[in-house]
């Protein structure tokens, strides 16, 4: 009887240990993410053109306490007239496992080239916003953000 109990206890402990080991092993995305070079990604969007660094303003908190939800506002200086408007805005986060965060498509009737959303950030990094203007022109802006608790790391497992 006592032996049975002992065997059971051992098995339970072994199973629990295995589960914990599995949980503690971070997946590829949860390991420290170095900043990736997003230039190829940028060039793919711009079809080889080099974007000019002007007219894109990114509003992010200087310190984000929680990388799971960081409010972000992007404003592009544009008259938003039928002849000169912002066609699309791309957000890139170089330390995220998937650097292209989102793409927003605007048009000449948008009235204002401004988009607000909440993003996930895997650590302190430089966030870039690329805007595609009418007439195949591209402008880019960047903003540094300090993230104290990165997204992608699940706190419940630490």
């Amino acid at each position: 009887m006592a032996r049975d109990f002992e065997m059971n206890r051992r098995r339970v402990l072994a199973a629990a240990g295995a589960a914990l080991a599995g949980a503690a092993l971070p997946s590829a995305a949860q390991r420290f993410q170095p900043a990736q070079d997003i230039t190829p990604l940028l060039l793919q969007v711009t079809r080889g053109a080099t974007p000019r660094e002007e007219g894109v303003e990114i509003d992010l908190p200087q310190i984000a306490e929680n990388g799971n939800s960081v409010p972000m506002r992007i404003r592009v200086a544009s008259p938003m007239s039928p002849g000169d408007y912002v066609k699309a805005i791309y957000i890139f986060a170089e330390r995220n496992p998937r650097p292209l965060v989102a793409t927003f498509h605007l048009n000449a009737q948008s009235g204002r080239a401004e988009v607000t959303t909440r993003v996930r950030l895997a650590g302190t990094q430089k966030v870039r916003a690329l805007a595609e203007l009418s007439g195949d022109r591209f402008v880019i802006g960047a903003m540094d953000v300090l993230v104290t608790a990165a997204a992608c790391l699940d706190e419940s497992l630490l």
Binding site: F104, G111, R112
Partner: protein
Amino acid sequence: MMLGKVQVPPTVKRGEAFEVRVLVQHPMETGFRRNLDGQSIPANIVDKLACRLGGREIFSAELGTGISANPYIVFFTTADASGELVVEWSDDRGEKGRVTTMVTVV
């Protein structure tokens, strides 16, 4: 059918930009997280969202894993006439959602 919300000002001026706020209820699971047994949680992302006003597309977005759970998007548009504003989205499992509101031009 997924839950969501869209908010516009009660009245808007003809041709003047107004704010449209969209909130979608969705976990936006990245696929990078693991549960307590160490198994990875499958990804589940709202990847497409589009907004039409009176049949004309005024805004669309492709979202990725970098967008927070319960995606919240604010953008601007103009209107020439009153009409119904429709927001539609779908996730990578083919689940769809739709909310509408009226835009009143004065």
